[in-house]
Amino acid sequence: MIISVASGKGGTGKTMVATNLALALDRKVQLLDCDVEEPNAHLFVQAAFDHRETVTTPVPKIDQRRCTQCGECEQICQFKAIAVLPDTDALTFPELCHSCGGCWTVCPENAISLDQRELGVIETGHRNGIFFAHGRLRIGEAMAPPLIRAVRATALPDRPTIIDAPPGTSCPVIAAMKDTDVVLLVTEPTPFGLHDLQLAVGAVRILDIPCALVINRQGAGDDRVLQYALQEKIPVLMEIPFDRRFAEIYSRGEMLIEAMPVWAPRFRALYRQIETLVVYRKAAAR
């Protein structure tokens, strides 16, 4: 089973839920932090990393001796990463390249070879039998999705997976949620939380994945998130009260289940409920 933890709005408690869920379980799971722009799960999990690797993406390198400036590469490139101008060598803009392979496939002179652009690094490690992986996007790099896919590719095949997704509703979060079995949406009961939750539910429905809700900071705002969940028939599996103590625990980088052990069985119950939801959904699909 693959659970992705997402939110729409940032700062609603995704990482808090994903890390506590993973560490509360009494079985071998894996936690993949796919918020490669601002990864935070490692601050709480404190895994011992034993592997680190640089992730790159292929970009074109033009052999100017072979290039006849025919312009086919420039024509196929949708991302303006190649410019063929009169009276000068063909130029490449590697930061704009999406690595589609169009230019080196069409070049009639075989003048384009592959160079590599660094996307960032991925690190993997363990804590208490949990496999942990995350990616760190290189500062200045614009494209998060290929690095997110590289983090997901580190997953071991034999165990449940929890994915800490980035905020938003565009390509990075889609890369993190795609082909997961269930999306756990973490929100807060405020107008911002509700608005961005609605966008996130829209994204989850486009992907046709079942979803469930965790409402964090319950009591801080109003009850419109709860009303929305009822109306849309989205199960609310956990409510975490608004309490300054929780914010203080989080601020120190501590785990809720360790600072307040009463929460450990609650996160285990959350996991069982998610499991049930996925089993029902699969049975209904058959």
Binding site: G10, G140, P191
Partner: protein, 295 residues
């Protein structure tokens, strides 16, 4: 005219609530919501839409089943695994690179333009506003961010305004890069948490990479005074301007629920005074004259 972009790295640190409070103190200003992926500023400033424009960017491949001979060349070439076994295209996986369109021997792949969002020119009680909505699960958010900033600048220049206040997206990727390039300054709103410090350092690194001067404000600074001190030390050693901190105050959320800024909610508190002082320091740093912009 100056442009200030409010960013945070980490989401949920309070940048939109603070920006709305700034807007209520500024005059001759236009608002720009560059968080096109999960825009929230409109929930407080309640824009009345004056103009609505569609945003088309890039293309999406579509296979014509009548012309497709199922030769499989496109499947081999597609780096995104966007072509399904039945030779239809998964529009979410499609990157819009056009490789299948250009190289299909049958010419069976169409490549229409992609309408991926809308942008708006609106009026608010604080001034004009440019904002947008990216379609769910769409790409090209960076291009839409560039578009709303360009439109806001145009609005400011034609209207003789002094300031563009831009609400930036979280993270450090493409929409953030598009949001800060060429701005006069960024204000990084952070929080005194381990995650906040970690994310602040990355987004400050990004601002430095693109040579945009950065100021810092620690929101909810009293939640963890030790972390706040660590952030201040980091800022001092990294040459970042400390523009003033704001205490934890549930009134921010209460005001948001009512669609108001913290000032409109009424009453003075340590938080409102802190926001006022923060804004004065930001104005001074931007070289805006306090009386004309900061009341």
């Amino acid at each position: 005219m100056k442009e200030l972009v409010v960013i945070s790295g980490k989401g949920g640190t309070g940048k939109t609530s603070l920006l709305a409070a700034f807007a209520s103190m500024a005059s001759r200003m236009a608002l720009c919501d560059a968080d096109v992926d999960a825009a929230d500023l409109h929930l407080i400033v309640a824009p009345a839409v004056r103009e609505r424009h569609s945003f088309t960017s890039g293309h999406r491949a579509v296979i014509d089943p009548d012309r497709c001979t199922a030769c499989g060349i496109c499947v081999e070439l597609c780096q995104w695994r966007a072509i399904r076994a039945d030779f239809t295209i998964d529009p979410i996986a499609c990157e819009g690179c056009g490789v299948c369109h250009y190289l299909c021997p049958e010419g069976a792949v169409d490549f229409p333009e992609n309408r991926c969002g809308e942008w708006y020119l609106s009026d608010t009680r604080f001034g004009p506003m440019v904002h947008a909505r990216l379609g769910i699960a769409e790409e090209n958010s960076g291009k839409l961010v560039s578009l709303v900033r360009r439109e806001a600048r145009h609005l400011g220049e034609t209207g003789g305004l002094e300031l563009i206040l831009t609400d930036g997206p979280p993270g450090i990727g493409c929409p953030v890069i598009a949001a800060i390039g060429g701005a006069d300054a960024v204000l990084i709103v952070t929080e005194p948490t381990l995650s906040g410090i970690h994310d602040l350092q990355r987004v400050a690194g990004l601002a430095d990479h693109f040579k945009v001067p950065a100021m810092i404000s620690v929101n909810k600074h009293d939640l963890n005074p030790e972390m706040t001190t660590r952030i201040e030390t980091y800022a001092e050693t990294s040459g970042l301007v400390l523009a003033g901190n704001v205490p934890f105050d549930p009134q921010f959320t209460k005001a948001m629920v009512q669609g108001m800024t913290i000032f409109e909610q009424g009453g003075s508190s340590p938080a409102t005074e802190a926001v006022r002082e923060l804004w004065q320091r930001v104005c001074a740093k931007l070289g805006l004259t306090a009386p004309s912009v900061c009341e």
